[in-house]
Symmetry: C2
Subunit: 273 residues, 2 copies
């Protein structure tokens, strides 16, 4: 992916366009900062420019709206990474609707999500969901005709990745907080996407020996003093066919997908000039 | 539903607005005509006006676009029922995108489908999917924490009804043509939505004794010389807790939902004047 992006960025620069990502952040949440560092590093590696808009945690709705509109309409910016959830006093839903669909590189607008639901490739899918799919593709994991279980139903990962798996002909079940006896369901799956957002909540009894496990979780692990996934890796790893670690798994691919969306958006922008 | 609609229509008429449905049809497909008769009858029963735009089966793309734009921009029309799929020479996807989201009473535009996917109630859900949910609600069938299986993954019913069931906290699996051993999956479900579009394809071995079965199929049954569902009713009915018949089940509720969307659209129109 990186090699292809580098080539694309060079071609765009030769045509006078510098693909540019705007990181739009409110406050200084450690998760956001960590993701931001990864994205900036990946951007630098392929020649994508990064501009930052950082607003104070207590920014007014009015100022927030004005700043978002400014980057929406700034032609030198091709993609906007809007960190969410926003602080409670700001309107998350309004922000989602305000964001320019053309710059919605993390798939949060209605247009992008409709693209995921209808499989018509309008907009961009959420990066984490696409990252999980890229990993399955990279390792040639069979998807068509297989059973997949997704733990979690967020719009960032659970629901979109379930749709993307179904579009590739998997039979998919979405488990969530109201699902009764999750392990009895996930044990039946050939592919398990763990996206509950709960540290080490997926244990050996959720899995089966032939299973491929994608751990999407990023949780602070007090015991080890670092981040860990939703899967109890030590417990699960010896008993499944394959599993992605945390850190070092989905996260890095996600930032790579994010930057590839910026490059795509810049290409589309070029074709519309 | 009918009583509530009548009241709403009277109020709208008193305010000078006659809720109006436009039936937009290309050609004379028997399925379309049958659905159209049902919708017109239901509209008449509650006082909703119906206008028809009927184009020849070989209408040009240009003429089709012009006619659709005309009803899109006609303020006296509040909802458009666009029969699909269109004949092959016409662009289905373009038509779906062209339709005014405000008049998209059968939930086929990106905005409506994003509303179903995100559960934000923008636009209207596809009528058949909502009809299945209305039936479950009417009979107080428990959904939260239950297992649901949906056979079929179309945008008209399979995918949206799966989402709507999940939004009400069911754990949902979507089966489709590439699913291996469908009966082994559907047998586990408390609620089964049959939307394969295949006459009598769901037999007793797909079900369990506690199951509630919603048959969404409308197929021509050569043997009986009438319409039948996707479920082999004779075979399944004695062995499940409850089942909707075809005809006389989902179909009538669907036209009722359709007309209720026209009334809703007219109310929204009134509030925007």
């Amino acid at each position: 992916m990186t090699a292809r992006m580098k080539r694309d960025v060079e071609e765009l620069k030769a045509a006078g366009i510098t693909p540019t990502l705007c990181i739009f952040r409110v406050g200084e949440r450690p998760d956001d900062l960590s993701y931001e560092r990864g994205a900036a590093k990946r951007a630098a590696a392929v020649g994508v420019e990064v501009k930052k808009v950082v607003l104070p945690a207590d920014v007014s709705q009015e100022d927030f709206d004005a700043e978002l509109m400014a980057v929406n309409t700034d032609d030198s910016i091709h993609g906007i990474l809007l960190f969410r959830p926003l602080p409670r006093h700001l309107d998350n839903e309004k922000a989602r609707q305000m964001l320019s669909p053309a710059k919605d590189i993390d798939g949060c607008t209605d247009l992008s999500l409709a693209g995921v639901f209808t499989n018509t490739r309008t907009g961009f899918p959420p990066c984490t969901a696409q990252a999980a799919m890229e990993i399955l593709h990279h390792y040639d994991i069979p998807i068509s005709g297989k059973k997949a279980a997704v733990i979690g139903r967020s719009l960032v990962i659970g629901r979109p990745v379930a749709m993307m798996l179904m579009h590739e002909n998997a039979t998919v079940v979405n488990c969530h907080t109201r699902t009764v006896d999750v392990p009895s369901i996930t044990r039946e799956a050939d592919i398990l996407i763990a996206a509950s957002g709960q540290l080490h909540s997926v244990t050996r009894d959720y899995t089966n020996p032939g299973q491929v496990v994608i751990d999407v979780g990023i949780n602070w692990d007090e015991t080890k003093g670092g981040i860990s996934g939703d899967v109890d890796f030590e417990d699960v790893e010896p008993h499944v066919a394959a599993i992605t670690p945390v850190p070092g798994g989905v996260g890095g691919v996600t930032t790579c997908v994010l930057i590839s969306h910026v490059v795509e958006a810049a290409k589309t922008h070029k074709n519309h000039i």
